[in-house]
Amino acid sequence: MRIFDPHIHMTSRTTDDYERMYAAGVRALVEPAFWLGQPRTGVESFLDYFDALVGWEQFRAAQFGIRHHCTLALNPKEANDPRCRPVLTELPRYLDSDGVVAIGEIGYDSMTTAEDEVFAEQLQLAVEYDLPALVHSPHRDKLAGTRRSLDVVRESGIDPGRVVIDHLNEVTVRVVADAGAWMGFSIYPDTKMDPDRMVAILKEFGTDRILVNSAADWGRSDPLTTLRTGEAMLAAGFSTAEVEQVLWSNPVTFYGEQRLILDPLPGFEAGAAGTFEGNSVLRGGVPS
């Protein structure tokens, strides 16, 4: 099974995870910029984070044979802190970088006025830079937040076919399907979706315009739930072609082949050597 995880926060994961992911068939992923658990209080810490996503983390993934891409944005939660707002003026200079494949995660957290403004402004950036947009649907008041997100998408003029509304569930999937946007599902060990519920949704909505991700991060999560979903699909009678579509072709179509780098890593073999700015993350390697 060849897997592209379209939404996973590798910054919060260990090299063990990279190894397990490669062994499970993960060959490419997208890491959206998001909240780090502890709120940031200024622009500089965002810029260092963005630099890590287009630099260090790309390198770290490559050590394990995985192509790393990212989406960048000021996330809705931190959009509420006025000290973080100027991130928006810094963002454009990153958007042409190699490895940046979309604007995200944008959307709503608490549906405040600040979130409205930052969401709309970043959708304009997506239009201007011809990038897709990854929209996080809120935890609280989820259906209302999903509907309002779709309204903002409509008003922005972006093609809904270049937008994924993520973290959907049984209650929110229909409005997104009807709006023509991509439907994203985060498969978690005990909240959000699980593999069997995902299979039920695939049976009802088909395999087009659907992205399945692990959204693994610093919370209780599992980077292999993409594989588990593929297994559950096969067990439920989906064909290998359908599994390949959901777990590989769909993310490639959504993020676009012009921006993605998908050829196998040159010379990649277990234990291939390499360092990034003097650091070695190889097993047994000594950080200097």
Partner: protein
């Protein structure tokens, strides 16, 4: 009087005499008075009633608030929160709630908008003890309706008992019930249990 209480009385007096002292006594309160929940039998994690260090810090804020004007009170509250770890941030929030309950006349000028901004900051965290401290009497009084409803939902999501939420019966409205209905519908669709705290806030309960 125990040594702990001795220390607290001395620290409070020092803050009354020189409010700047709070910058040094506030962080060490946990080491001096302990960190146990005040009502361990019913509130194991100190979410509802707080902890001994929460109470000590609230007392220090009370002492400070009587010795400074509203502008300086605002500056010091923001300084203590921003420079503090999770426990000190909780202490500031519990201090604000203690003032809202016992000395509302001291909550004037910029103190209220600054306090609201600190509550909103805490409510963006995923730390249940911080969230619990942010939905006390101060937020019950001053947090806007939209943010307050989201705070209630946040408690449901984090498993923070709704007993921590000040003025819940007075402020619960049809819009909150609609949001809780949505939460319950999602839990049911996912085959997950619906907590009693959530059930009690659904629109059925309003009828």
């Amino acid at each position: 009087m125990t040594a702990d209480q001795d220390w607290l009385c001395g620290a409070a007096r020092a803050v009354e005499t020189d409010p700047e002292t709070i910058r040094t006594v506030f962080p060490v309160a946990g080491r001096r008075v302990g960190r146990a929940p005040l009502e361990p039998a019913t509130d194991q994690h100190g979410l509802v009633h707080g902890t001994t260090d929460d109470a000590a810090r609230a007392r220090l804020i009370d002492a400070m608030s009587g010795a400074v004007d509203p502008d300086r009170l605002t500056d010091l509250l923001i300084w203590l929160y921003r420079n503090g770890g999770a426990a000190e941030r909780r202490g500031v929030l519990r201090g604000l709630s203690a003032l809202a309950e016992r000395r509302p006349h001291r909550l004037t000028g910029l103190v209220v908008p600054a306090g609201v901004a600190l509550c909103e900051d805490a409510l963006r965290s995923n730390d249940p003890r911080l969230v619990a401290a942010a939905v006390g009497p101060f937020a019950g009084q001053y947090l806007g309706a939209h943010g307050w409803r989201h705070a209630v939902l946040k408690c449901l999501f984090l498993g923070v008992p709704t007993a921590v939420i000040a003025r819940l019966p007075q402020r619960a409205d049809a819009e909150l019930a609609r949001m809780v209905d949505g939460y319950v519908a999602e839990r049911r669709a996912a085959g997950r249990a619906v907590p009693d705290d959530a059930r009690a806030l659904t629109s059925r309960q309003l009828i």
